[in-house]
């Protein structure tokens, strides 16, 4: 599904070149559930952002769904991730001014989907996540776990092939975290959605099928579970 070849990322800070990722190679197949682990500052978030095309590598080759991403223009890149990738953030990043319903609907609007169809899709999603009763609430009226649920629902609404989750349980208590991870596992098993998550927790990492350890901008190890 995706393949990173010799990916490096560095910043210019003052006179120094600060390397964040150093010659990273990574292949992820469709249907995998990959957990990226590593200490703070090891470069795992940057790696995830590059995979999600929110960030560009300084060097290397990046293939996604058989497209050479490193050669694509901004516009086609954006079209590519719009179609195939859903994001889940640690801080949920819901739009405060929109209700649960509208938050989930927003990506569909940007894909120019008709209003009637949008309604059906969002209704399905609300049903599936059992948050129908909360559809008219605003994010501030929800608990963290519920907000993250909405965040995931929003990520799934466009039927992405790949979900990228940056510490999805980082702001949640352990019970809420478990529920979210169960949800991910279910999505991976039943809906065949490929998932790549960044996490600090060994326990959460074990929900996946593979754990990648990142250290100082390099992939330190890759374990299949």
């Amino acid at each position: 599904m995706l393949s990173l070849k010799n990916i490096s990322k560095y910043y210019q800070a003052g006179g120094n070149k600060i390397s964040v990722l150093n010659n990273v190679n990574l292949d992820v197949d469709a249907g995998e559930f990959v957990s990226i682990m590593g200490p703070s500052g090891s470069g795992k978030s940057t790696l995830l952002n590059i995979i999600g095309m929110l960030d560009e590598p300084s060097e290397g080759y990046h293939y996604f769904m058989n497209e050479a991403v490193h050669q694509l223009k901004e516009k086609s890149r954006s079209a590519l991730y719009k179609e195939y990738i859903g994001f889940v953030f640690q801080a949920y990043h819901l739009i405060d001014e929109l209700t649960v319903y509208e938050n989930i609907e927003t990506p569909l609007i940007y894909q120019n989907i008709k209003s009637a169809e949008r309604k059906a899709l969002v209704a399905d999603m609300l049903d599936r996540f059992q948050i129908v009763g909360k559809k008219d609430l605003f994010p501030a009226q929800l608990s963290g776990g519920q907000q993250q649920l909405v965040g995931i629902a929003r990520a799934l609404i466009t039927k992405p092939r790949l979900i990228l989750a940056d510490e999805p349980t980082g702001n949640l208590n352990s019970k809420q975290g478990e529920e979210i991870m169960e949800l991910f596992r279910k999505l991976n098993k039943e809906d065949k959605v490929t998932i790549i998550q960044v996490t600090h927790s060994e326990k959460n990492a074990e929900y996946g099928s593979r754990i990648i350890d990142v250290l100082d901008g390099k992939i330190d190890s890759s374990r299949n579970l």
């Binding site: 929110l54 960030d55 991730y81 739009i95 001014e97 929109l98 990506p107 940007y110 929003r154």
Partner: protein
Amino acid sequence: MFRNYIKTAFRSLKKNKGFTLINVLGLALGLAICLLIVFYVIDEMSYDRYNLNADRIYRVNNDIKFGGSENSYAVAPAPMAAALQAEFPEVEKAVRFRQNGSFRVKKGNQDIQEHHFIYADPDVFSVFTFPMLSGDPNTALKDPKAVVITERMANKYFNSTNVVGKTLLLDDTVNFKITGVIKDIPKQSHINADFFISMITLAESKEPSWLNNNFQTYILLKPGSDVKVLESKFPKMVKEHVDPQLQNVIHMSYDDFTKTGSYFKLSTIALKRIHLESNMQAELGPNGNIRYVYIFLAIALFILLIACVNFMNLSTARSANRAREVGVRKVLGSARKHLIAQFLAESIMVTMVSTIIALIIAWGLLPIFNQMAGKELSISMQSLVWLVPAVIAIILVIGCLAGSYPAFFLSGFQPIEVLKGKLAAGFKGGFLRSFLVVFQFSISIFLIIGTLVIYNQLKYIQNKDLGYNRSHILVVKNLYALGNQAKTFKDEIKQMPEVANATLTGYTPTMDYRNSNSLFQTATLDVKNALNTQMWYVDEDYVNTLDIKMIKGRNFSKQMLTDSLAMIINESAAKKLGLADPLDKTLYMPLDQQAKHVKGYHIIGIMKDFNFNTLRENVSSLTMVLGEERGALSIRVKSADMPAFVSRVEKQWKSINPNQQFEYSFMDEDFDATYRTEQRMGKIFVSFTSLAIIIACLGLFGLAAYAAEQRTKEIGIRKVLGAGVSSIVAMLSLDFIKLVLISIVIAAPLAWFAMHQWLQGYAYRQNIQWWVIALAGVGAIVIAFVTISFQSIKAALINPVKSLRSE
């Protein structure tokens, strides 16, 4: 998608109530002022356009230089209209007007003083568009003692408009036959009359003299003729007609006359330009001034700009709060153009709400504005014709203009950076924002200085020693009504214990009786040392009643019988005469057209100059002789209880003639009325300036709030490190105060220059003093500081634990 934008916009605005309020209110205030000004300007520009022939109507003006003084007159000689029509094919019709005082009109057994009388030639109704309700417009003014009245007057005197054939008794003496009723003349007309009397009634209208100018003369050109061509033929006509008469009166040919530097020059002005551009002697009424239209438009633009700048500034300052939303939307797949559209939609929405509020504010302020500007503006169906498209245009243009910067600025964010929270520093480095604040405050300071200068000048006018004393003078008007008993009335008033003195004459500094004349130093009327001067008919109490100082010689005296040929002149006249000692010299005045008889006046006194014209002009020559003039009785009063005194004078008046209206005023109030335009402008300036400053401060208040919010973390850290409240307030305020200082540097010279130009219109003026500019600068800083410190102190008082916990 559009609904989604509106929803987000609406909720986002609702969430930031304070911000929205500042934004909407500021813009609404600005727009309301603009609307009022546009109302005013449109009204001023629409003068005389109701005339269907407006494009072909011109007034003939006369520039005259004679006896050392030159003047532009809106009037021309009586026979000129006929000559124009006879001699030039371009002229289709020519119509004369003549204003000659007011009349008392009889209603039942009551006499009502009416002021809007005008004598007019019969063709007036075919040149001007005064639709006639009843009567024949072609013949209405053909016969003597015919009068055409307006609908309003017909209703006032007869409760009906069907009054053709009835009579009006004027001044209790003459019956005028009503030959027509016309619709009321629109307010936007420089001709403002309620009674048109047939010109033939006036003997003066048949006089052949080309040397007296008393008739406002309007011509209707034939379609397609060029007024410039017509004007080029004027000099020849003037010469032909003036030359023989000049030979008769001063025994000089027109060529010799022009060789002495004197001239008569005829010119034309288009009807539509008269109201705003003409300000000559003997206008039909006070006109507007195009300069004020420009000034108003400039103020409107300034205020609108300030309000727009607020909008832009607050929106971008707030960008950090919106940045996360932008980031999320971008990650969710929004293209940049969608975001731009979203922010523009938001800004247009705010503008729309503001415009609606502005309309309500403007509508509510209209009566106050009317009072200040001396107008009778109203929102009518006619105004809707331009108002509706204007409002839509305003919403779109201002909405896009004010929204464009935040739209492009915000939509350009990189999602990953804002989501990581890197844009917290979004407030700093806003060069554009600083620039806009400087711009706003420059305008505000400019307006403050302008206001101060205008006020200073008005105060100066109020307090200037005019050479006479205008306080405690009651002016009883129109003693013609008392006929021969005017003098008796004066004597009776003088007997009253509260009265210090009284003088009977209409020639006072505050009334508009004027009489210019040419006096000669030789009985042969040698033009070379002629004195063109005002010549007033007064009585022997004049000098003492008005407290005018005599420099040399003496006042008129009742005891000296020879004083009927005596004359007092002012300093300026004395200077103009160029004599070492003008006292006891004689000045000669021709008594008839042919100058066969002359009258010599013996100079018995020289008085100190007093300002009998407005302070816009220098004091010119003035001579006074004894004569019975009954225009007014000016009474110098000792008593403090004016109302009681006035009622006693009225009683006295009624005892002489119970049917006559008693009209009075106070000289100091009349004096103030002369400067009503300035006073109006002053008031409007102050109001607008205050509003401009309030709007600018609203913006600054919002900006300061966001600056403080953005720097919450920095403030927290500084406090943990030991910074005191005052040092933090200073830190936050200084950024803005610096901008205000720059504004002062920019605005002060500009304002000084502009106001210096304005002051040139006054012969007597208070030049701009340094403290005016200092005061404006200090004022702006203080206002800005107070506005900012509210936010700064609030920010400085926050517990650092709270602000640092954010992550």
